[in-house]
């Protein structure tokens, strides 16, 4: 679907809502939901990747320098902050 999904009319919906192109989940930024997000203190980060491993939504990406950061799919659940072995992740509330 080339059109944004909240602009699609009923006439444009394929029979049974079938999607003929891949990537509809990628196009939807689940990060819109979050009320808080993780912030990494790089000084304490050992680049172990536990946060990346435990994230249930692939909401964390590895940066070119080997550190980690959230992406647009992070829902702010806080599992990464709880599981981080060095305690370098803190959850910060979203601002208005």
């Amino acid at each position: 679907m080339s059109k944004a999904w909240d602009q699609v009319t009923w006439q444009e919906i394929e029979v049974g809502g079938v999607l003929t192109e891949p990537g509809s989940a990628r196009a939807y930024n689940t990060g819109d939901w979050r009320s808080q997000h993780p912030v990494w203190t790089k000084k304490r980060c050992i680049k172990c990747g536990i946060c990346w491993t435990v994230c249930p939504e692939s909401g964390i990406s590895e940066e070119p320098d080997g550190y980690f950061d959230m992406n647009t799919y992070c829902k702010g659940c806080g599992i990464c902050a709880r599981e981080c072995v060095t305690g370098c992740i803190s959850m910060v509330p979203e601002e208005e």
Binding site: D6, V8, W10, V15, G16, G17, V18, T20, S24
Partner: protein
């Protein structure tokens, strides 16, 4: 010119299984124990004996039966199942998904009462509890109609202008378990009428698609609108296919059927096999000079508003017979529909509704004569109730 057909006496359930065989169903999933009918029992024999080239899946519940049907239909197979009463209720969750995903599955529902109290007998409470599932729904009156509509249902469901699951409703026991003389068709004739099934979409690794994706609030309403339009627009193709069948067999079907309605001031209405009993009553009343006619709804979904209004034009009193209740509500389901359809008209008849024949209670022709008298008396004094349960003691 109608095709040459031979007449054969057989149980209607068996006739329906032959219709499904003639339609070359490729996949059948069913729960084989009560409340099942002989339909799938015979189909499973046909598959086991090599008389029908199909996948037959025995499942552990009706919920699983419809789920398996969805899977097989998604794989591109012409899919069929049958159920009844509690079985249809157990399927309920999946029925909505089947139609929303537009799988052209055909199902026979042998209409029977929903418990409780525990009952196995005929009424329409099972299908009326599943009224809003978004399937095409047809009601048949006799064994011949059950046979005919079982074949036509596949053609309607699979039509690219339609692509919707279709239910053929037939009265449990009263139709499913009686022996009737039926005109069967040969395989060649049916093959010509009903070509091989080519799904619009199927689970094919060469052409991958996503089926059953979720819809956010911003898209859900549009999906429902598309479904609503698809169902109402199915009206045209349904009539076209019924007409084609009429040319082929000489048996013509209409969404709303009428019987002796010429000059009728009083119209009796219902769906299903009870209409055959009502015809006897109408004949008797006409002999007495009472201007009574009969209107039967064959196509329940999409509801034939225009045909119904035309059929009831000129009537002063309409007596609607329901075979189900909407407990605590305004009316039985057929009465509610008829009242809604007639409400916008400037000149409309008195419309009274009586629920009859619940849980297998026998309905004799005299009942309809009684109903006409009761309804006329109610109109005279002003209706005392929203609807009436007929023949209840106490």
């Amino acid at each position: 010119m109608a095709a040459k057909a031979h007449r054969e006496g057989m149980e209607v359930s068996i006739a329906v299984s032959h219709a499904v065989q003639l339609a070359r169903a490729e996949a059948i999933a069913a729960y084989p124990i009560t409340p099942q009918t002989h339909i799938v029992e015979h189909l499973s024999s046909m598959v086991a004996n090599g008389d029908l080239e199909a996948e037959f899946v025995n499942v552990e519940s009706e919920h699983s039966a419809m789920s398996a049907c969805i899977g097989m239909s998604a794989a591109g197979a012409r899919t069929y199942t049958a159920t009844s009463s509690q079985g249809l209720a157990l399927m309920n969750e999946i029925l909505f998904i089947t139609s929303a995903m537009r799988f052209p599955i055909v199902m026979t529902v042998a209409n029977r009462a929903l418990s409780g109290p525990l009952s196995i007998w005929n009424d329409h409470s099972d299908i009326m509890a599943a009224r809003d599932i978004g399937w095409i729904q047809v009601f048949v009156e006799n064994g011949q109609e059950a046979f005919d509509h079982s074949i036509m249902a596949f053609k309607i469901a699979e039509d690219y202008r339609v692509i919707l699951p279709t239910i053929v409703n037939m009265d449990g026991f009263i139709l499913t378990h009686v022996v009737e003389a039926l005109e069967m068709l040969d395989q060649k004739t049916v093959d010509k009428f009903l070509p091989e099934y080519h799904p619009r979409f199927s689970l094919d690794p060469k052409r991958p698609v996503t089926m059953g994706a979720f819809a956010m609030p911003e898209l859900f309403t549009e999906c429902k609108m598309a479904h609503q339009v698809a169902l109402t627009d199915a009206h045209g193709p349904i009539l076209e296919i019924w007409k084609e069948w009429g040319k082929l067999t000489g048996r013509r079907y209409k969404p709303v059927e009428t019987y002796r309605t010429e000059g009728a001031k009083v119209i009796i209405m219902m769906m299903g096999s009870l209409a055959q009993v009502a015809e006897v009553a109408v004949d008797a009343m006409r002999d007495q000079g009472i201007p009574v006619g009969l209107v039967k709804i064959r196509l329940w979904r999409p509801f034939p508003f225009a045909e119904l209004r035309a059929a009831l034009a000129g009537a002063e009193l309409v007596v609607v017979c329901d075979r189900a209740l909407s407990l605590g509500g305004a009316a039985g389901p057929v009465l509610a529909e008829v009242r809604s359809a007639m409400y916008p008209l400037a000149a409309k008849p008195h419309i009274l509704g009586y629920t009859v024949g619940l849980g297998g209670r026998d309905v004799q022709p005299e009942v309809f004569e009684d109903l006409v008298q009761l309804a006329q008396a109610e109109v005279k004094q002003g209706p005392s109730q929203e609807f009436y349960i007929y023949g209840v003691r106490g």
